[in-house]
Amino acid sequence: MIDRANWQAASALLDEALALAPGAYEGWLQALRQRDAALAATVQRLVSRTAAPAAAPAFDALLQRALQQAEPEAADLAGRRMGAWLLQSKIGEGGMGQVWLAQRADGLYDAHAAIKLLRGDLQRSPLSERFSRERAALARLNHPAIARLLDAGVSDGQAFLVLEHVAGQTLSQHVNGACPTVASRVRLLMRIAEAVAHAHAADRAPRPQAVERDGHRGR
């Protein structure tokens, strides 16, 4: 298999070969063969591969079908059980996945929580490590302005976090409605900054965007 150093040498020679006047190729290749037979063989093979015509890809047709298909993530998760919790309705969706309102379903006590689900296509990606890191970091956090981690697990291969549910508004809604003055906005910002500082102290990789989600506690 061609490696990096190999390719760099071959790439420069391929440029040369493609720029040759018609009829000059055989002599050029012969000279190269005398200098470096292995490299000449690679270049010759690559040149023969350039003869391929540019075919119209059927990729377009596949892409069309893939895009027109119903979003698999839109599969209704309502009513699905995740550990001791029952998913009720979707609260939000971000790059990492969805957030659902959930109800305790094992009858031990009556409670609501927010459940964060890692997007299906990310389960095998390095992002799932970040999800685990977030779980570890949240478990260590105990701050009045940060939503508490209540539970976590994996259900049918789907990783989830159970967080304290905050029935609030988004930060911008809250600011527009409840913080008309600059002074009140600065006070709110300071409280958020304290929470972020607390998260920083607990973990080197905090998630400040999580705090932006609502006025008092973030997810």
């Binding site: 591969r49 350039t50 391929a52 298909q69 990310l122 992002l127």
Partner: protein, 192 residues
């Protein structure tokens, strides 16, 4: 929070965490834009799908203020996402159909309405693997293939983005195809 431009540049320099963040931030958006463009067009577009959705990505690049190199990285990234959308689709289809890959290939080829569909479902997965190798070997050539083959970018557009002549782009494309074929280990003469 890092901007999309910063993420694209860092990711192209091999920053793994930037690549992760980019994936989380852009993947769903790219998918959404592509679906939306297709829905707007209504009806069957078939072989113009990538060119059609490309227009949506031009607007996305403009609104993110992407210029020069980062704009090029972005279109290459779009190609990668669209490819993975298709691969996920193909995998899901083959999972639901008990017949497996062989039957799937027949179905998809018929749907593509091309007697000699050059890219079959199983090929697509091999191409994905070869492209990842190519990314390590020669990033500019790799990005060129993503842009031209999978993201609907035109040769003129790439020439403009890279500030080179059309001729140079065409020569690089010949090289890129040759390298891809080499990495796939196919007999010489196979077209991609």
């Amino acid at each position: 929070m890092r901007s999309v431009t910063q993420l694209l540049m860092a990711s192209s320099d091999g920053d793994g965490s930037a690549a992760d963040e980019l994936f989380a931030r852009l993947y769903p958006e790219i998918k959404r834009v592509a679906r939306q463009r297709l829905a707007q067009a209504g009806g069957v577009v078939g072989l113009n799908t990538t060119a059609l959705v490309h227009e949506g990505f031009l607007r996305m690049a403009d609104s993110e203020g992407l210029r020069g190199a980062s704009r090029g990285h972005f279109f290459a990234y779009v190609g990668r996402v669209l490819r993975s959308v298709v691969i996920d689709f193909v995998r899901a289809e083959s999972a639901t159909k008990r017949g497996g890959d062989v039957q799937l290939v027949a179905t998809l080829s018929a749907a593509a309405d091309e007697p000699a569909a050059w890219m079959q479902a199983t090929d697509l997965i091999a191409i994905d693997r070869a492209l990842r190798q190519m990314q390590e070997l020669d990033r500019p050539l790799y990005e060129l293939l993503e842009m031209l083959t999978f993201a609907g970018t035109s040769v003129d557009e790439v020439a403009q983005l890279r500030d080179v002549s059309r001729r140079t782009v065409e020569r690089d494309l010949v090289k890129a195809r040759a390298l891809l074929t080499e990495l796939l280990g196919d007999p010489p003469g196979t077209a991609y």
